[in-house]
């Protein structure tokens, strides 16, 4: 029977585990392998496992290296770690690109791999001509240029950002067989730095009868959504920086609304105005789309918070386990309600659970990276993870979620993800 082990097993045995990722088709990292620590071999793009080099090539020590670069790029050997794009063939700027979660480690998403969801392309916004306007039910309509915004006290927070439609293939009748990033990769985690919006609300003097603000982007879809003012006061950021540098164009340059823990569609990119009102605008993206139809025929609207969710990124679909032995099960957990409190893992489809180790620091509304040592006996297993957050919310099973919400909900899918490991070491997505 396969079992979860105390994490110290790795230290005691002095093992070096290797990881290969499906998208990268990369080499196993480890040079010295014991029978207890078999490599997790990728099928690679051509479906051929790559063998480890017998010996390190030391030739680079006898050649002058490359010159400095003004802006660093990933290694030329990691070119296959990319966002895969799914877009409308008539409107190329309408669609998504997925973060390749299966190829990444830690909890920060590289900025260039942050997922995208655009409704009509990435606009080119000229910073010198950019203004951000507050108007509607305010004492003083105000506009701000970027130099003005940069004068305010800034705040940095590590936050996950997830599309409300992430993982929606989970509603399908049959389990989709794709790498974890192409299934669940409309979620990323960054450090966002910006102006707490509450400062500007005080300055404009928001009318006490106003309850909503309509946020609008400068994209060609002029994407607009309604946001409760209570959230804007509580913890909204006008983000100017992502992971230390000014926003990338595709993440909202020069200004993005960041609403910790809330669905991505609310976190308007290229934000240029907020209109304060006493009613929601009922835009397309909060009525016809991004609402969840229930089995009763009624639909839930303004369900803002992304629920507790976790998934195993390794082993996952597309990877193949080598010989039996000890593996590190690795994954991500997060919750829009607060901080990750506990992650458990199962190798028997949820019959028994073990507590996973969580890498710190654990922060509210942020990714947490979890790990568990697992001894695989070579027999079929079903790997699962489940998260509990510090507000008491628990990730549901798929059966529970479907029983509650039917299969037409489409948005906010956060059920437990199951990977079946077959006796030949291949990993499939299953509903368990």
């Amino acid at each position: 029977m396969s079992t979860f082990l105390d994490r110290r097993v790795f230290l005691e045995q002095g093992l070096r585990l290797s990881l290969a990722t499906a998208a990268a088709g990369a080499l196993p990292v480890s040079q010295a392998q014991s029978q207890d620590a078999p490599p997790l071999v990728s099928k690679g793009v051509e479906g051929i496992p790559t063998e480890p080099q017998a010996k390190t090539d030391l030739a680079s020590q006898h050649r002058a290296g490359q010159a400095f670069s003004n802006y660093g790029m990933p290694s030329v050997h990691e070119k296959r770690v990319i966002r895969l794009i799914g877009s409308n063939r008539m409107v190329l700027g309408n669609g998504v690109s997925w973060t390749p979660l299966e190829s990444l480690e830690g909890m920060v998403t590289p900025t260039g791999l942050h997922f995208e969801r655009h409704h009509n392309g990435v606009p080119e916004v000229e910073p010198a001509r950019f203004t951000f306007t507050l108007h509607g039910m305010v004492a003083k309509p105000l506009c701000f240029d970027l130099a003005g915004l940069l004068r305010y006290p800034l705040q940095s927070r590590m936050l996950f950002l997830e599309c409300g439609g992430n993982s929606n293939a989970g509603w399908h009748e049959e389990p989709m067989q794709k790498p974890v990033g192409s299934f669940h990769g409309l979620v990323s985690c960054s450090e966002w730095t910006g102006v707490p919006l509450s400062y500007l609300l005080d300055e404009a003097g928001v009318n006490s009868k106003a309850t909503w603000a309509i946020a609008e982007g400068l994209d060609a879809a002029a994407t607009e959504v309604s946001i409760p003012i209570s959230k804007l006061r509580e913890d909204a950021l006008l983000a100017l920086f992502q992971n230390g540098e000014r926003l990338r164009a595709e993440n909202g340059y020069p200004l993005r609304l960041v609403l910790p823990g809330w669905e991505g569609v609310r976190q308007i990119k290229w934000l240029h105005r907020l209109e304060f009102t006493d009613q929601p605008v009922m835009s397309r993206n909060e009525t016809g789309e991004y609402t969840q139809l229930l089995p009763s025929g009624k639909a839930e609207q303004f369900d803002f918070v992304m629920g507790p969710k976790s998934l195993i990124t390794s082993p996952s679909y597309g990877q193949t386990l080598g010989t039996r032995g000890v593996f590190e099960v690795r994954g991500l957990a997060w919750s829009g309600h607060g901080a990750v409190a506990k992650v458990e893992v199962s190798a028997d489809g949820g019959k028994s659970w073990s507590t996973a180790h969580i890498d710190g620091p654990v922060m509210s509304k942020c990714f947490a990276r979890f790990r568990a040592a697992w001894k695989w006996d070579g027999k079929p297993a079903v790997l699962q993870s489940r998260v509990k957050d510090d507000q008491g919310n628990i990730q549901p099973t798929r059966a529970h979620l479907v029983a509650q919400r039917g299969r037409n909900g489409y948005f906010h899918y956060n059920a437990i993800v199951s990977w079946a490991v077959d006796s030949d070491g291949t990993v499939r997505h299953v509903y368990a």
Binding site: T131, K140, A221, G288, K298, E300
Partner: protein, 194 residues
Amino acid sequence: MERYVMFMLKRAQSVLFTQAFFASLLFSAASLTAIPAQADSAASRPTPMGKPVDAGSMVQFVPNIFPTGQGLPSGMGLAKNGAVLYQAQCASCHGRKGEGGTAQELIGGEGPLNAPDADKTLRTYWPYATTLFDTILRSMPPATPGHLSHDEVYSLCAYLLSENGLWAIDQPMGAQELAAIVMPNRNGFIRKFP
């Protein structure tokens, strides 16, 4: 909880400022650039950087159009004009009869919404007709958004709503008429907020 943390942080900051103040008294000659103590919270607010907005710059904004009709511009449209516009500007993505294509279905859809494969269409699902005007005016067609006149958008709304059996085909449509339409699924939504 977070508010409490913020409060504690602010307190901690004011303690630091107070300490800085006393330190500056002791070392006044060397502390010309020290951060001064903040006697009251008003003085510690950020320097306001907002500039007054002139009405002219707000006129340029695409209006946000609310279910009450607030934001709807003046204008008038007819379904027969909308039919011509639809074929020229919309059919390539939404289908010649609005049956959908690379973009969503606009004409048709059958209830009920509690069926296993319910149709979430304009007719069966969308709660407000004003959303249709708002969406077309601000974002359609995707290749050239923002170029349709208000009369043209009213005409497209009249055409799509009449093809869906929600508007009389020969009746002119303006702001009042559009805002007065009660869509079939008006009461189909449960608000999780407020």
